[in-house]
């Protein structure tokens, strides 16, 4: 009983969000079910990206490459080889993971802005390969006819399918962030130098994290293709790489659910604003400026600052001369 109580106390927020997500299709029209499916897919993309940004402390501007690799793997397998959707998901994760291994091998040798620039460069490399390779990827025409099976064809079943996949993936990612490996990522973020001096091969760990992130970005991409019935090279472009960055910044990169909340705000706003004006990027730009200027830690940062999550006061054991002087 006590264990159950502490479980609910600890995980009440994701539980509430999950229950709301379960009930949503009964309460909203199918257009908004589509929007919430998109929120889930992009939310997974942002959570996977945040393994690098929020937990490892490096900004990748090229995660769309792995999202795109996942999307194209599913698309190609379904269109050209008639694979069932479910079988394509793990394969998409593997191909995206292999892509992240090859490109990440070089990226993890750099830090800060140099890391970011190299991730953009490699992201664009993947974009141009897909863009130019007409015979295989369809080039700038993309791939059409990526139809999910009949039982997932309409909006609501596909929404629930996405909800299940995204929930399972998020739980796995959450476990990873709470594992010794996840804490090693926080350690690398906080103090790379010290982490080397406690005997950890920082580059190797960063590469493993880069691969894990790439795999889940690939899974998000794999869900996107059948949802949208098509894939296009834009999915791999640098602009699309910016999407999870915005989401993580908006929601709060230092909370596990921050990127998902960011996805809710970003995608919902997108769907809402494009009903009134074609200048969605202008609106998103203003929102980003607002968030960065007024809410530097995102939504969760503000909640924490307001004391919702109890802030820790400076504490000392009182034996220091400085502290003694306070009396």
């Amino acid at each position: 009983m006590e264990r159950k109580k502490s479980f609910i106390k600890r995980y009440w927020l994701p539980l509430v969000l999950f229950i709301i997500a379960l009930l949503l299709p009964a309460l909203i029209p199918s257009f908004w079910v589509h929007v919430f499916t998109e929120i889930l897919i992009l939310g997974l993309f942002a959570i996977a990206f945040n393994l690098i940004f929020g937990y490892m402390g490096q900004l990748s501007f090229g995660q769309a490459a792995y999202y795109g690799i996942g999307a194209y793997t599913t698309g190609l397998l379904m269109v050209k080889a008639n694979w069932p959707l479910i079988a394509t998901l793990p394969v998409s994760m593997i191909t995206a993971g292999i892509g992240a291994l090859i490109l990440g091998f070089f990226c993890v040798r750099l830090r800060g802005v140099y890391f970011s620039i190299l991730t953009i460069a490699f992201g664009q490399l993947v974009f141009f390969i897909i863009f130019q390779w007409y015979s295989f990827t369809g080039g700038d025409n993309g791939l059409q006819g990526i139809n999910p099976p009949d039982w997932l064809f309409s909006a609501v079943p596909y929404y629930y399918f996405t909800l299940i996949v995204v929930t399972i993936a998020s739980i796995i990612i959450y476990f990873i962030t709470e594992s010794p490996f996840g804490y090693t990522m926080r350690a690398i973020r906080d103090n790379t130098e010290r982490t080397e001096f406690i005997g950890i091969n920082v580059q190797r760990y960063m590469l493993i994290n880069f691969i894990i992130s790439g795999m889940f970005c690939g899974l998000a991409g794999a869900l996107w293709g059948p949802f949208n019935r098509s894939v296009a090279p834009d999915l791999c472009g640098w602009q699309h790489s910016g999407t999870p960055v915005f989401m993580a910044v908006m929601g709060g990169p230092h909370h596990f659910l921050g990127p998902m909340i960011g996805s809710v705000i970003f995608t919902f706003l997108n769907a809402f604003v494009t009903g009134f004006t074609e200048y969605w990027p202008l609106v998103s730009g203003i929102v980003i400026i607002f968030v960065v200027m007024l809410m530097p830690g995102g939504v969760f940062g503000v909640i924490k600052e307001k004391g919702y999550f109890k802030a820790k006061e400076p504490v000392s054991n009182g034996t220091n001369p400085v502290d003694k002087g306070r009396d």
Partner: protein, 250 residues
């Protein structure tokens, strides 16, 4: 090489562009010794530590640990074979709690950091609490390390180094920023580890009472050159050492 020698440097030199920071340092440290390197600011003490631990690349000469050459090895490899250091300016994980800081170092030593699916909070509980107790940080275990007082950060710095279970511990001004009471406690802990576990310790320090109270062997660095070496009494009598560091009142 004598088996009891744990650390040895031969003609160790370091220059940054045209500035020679360390010149031709030949140094030996025996297993189980507690030794200090002293010298005025800028003498090259921290650089000496930086070369041993792979923080800087060596410009000339060699470093040996237990008879094996480790010159210019990667930092994590040097830490893995048993050399750990505590930094002069505390070098901790500011966003993690004191407990999480120490646990991270213990899990790294136990080679369990590649575990992806077991919650870290269930691991190494006992060891972490014990080490926090030993280093006097138990009552601060849930405090974010970044907001600890300077003295407590130095204790945590020492705890991170001890968690690695090193054979050789390098302490760069371990008591800087501590009260006299804390300084005494910390150095007593270091001495106890030296006596009970046989941990070899090399430290730098400016506090004369700490140097002469705890070191069995002293080496004096001046402008990057090792000018004197011996027991504290021998160094106290050494004219060169007096001239460049200790002053006449010692």
């Amino acid at each position: 090489m004598n088996n009891s020698v744990i650390l040895k440097t031969e003609h160790l030199s370091k220059s940054f562009f045209k500035y020679q920071v360390l010149t031709d340092v030949n140094y030996e440290l025996k297993k189980g010794e507690i030794a200090a390197i002293i010298g005025p600011n800028g003498a090259g003490k921290t650089t000496f530590f930086n070369l041993i631990t792979g923080y800087h690349t060596v410009s000339g000469g060699h470093v040996f640990f237990r008879g094996q050459e480790i010159t210019n090895w990667q930092r994590h490899k040097i830490a893995r074979i048993g050399i750990t250091r505590a930094f002069q300016i505390s070098n901790i994980y500011p966003k993690l709690t004191t407990y999480e800081n120490v646990r991270q170092s213990i899990l790294a030593q136990q080679k369990r950091t590649l575990n992806l699916l077991t919650p870290a909070e269930k691991m190494a509980k006992q060891e972490t609490l014990e080490l926090l107790e030993v280093t006097g940080l138990a009552n601060l275990k849930d405090t974010e390390a970044g907001i600890l007082s300077q003295g407590d950060k130095k204790k945590l710095e020492l705890a991170l180094a001890l968690a690695c279970k090193p054979a050789l511990l390098l302490l760069d001004e371990p008591t800087a920023g501590m009260s006299s009471e804390e300084t005494h406690e910390t150095m007593e802990l270091v001495k106890r580890l030296n006596k009970e576990v046989g941990l070899t310790i090399l430290f730098t320090e400016h506090d004369i009472s700490v140097i002469f109270g705890y070191a069995e062997k002293l080496s004096v660095l001046h402008q990057g050159i090792l000018v004197a070496e011996g027991t504290p009494e021998e160094v106290r009598q050494n004219k060169e050492a007096q001239a460049c560091y200790l002053g006449e009142e010692i």
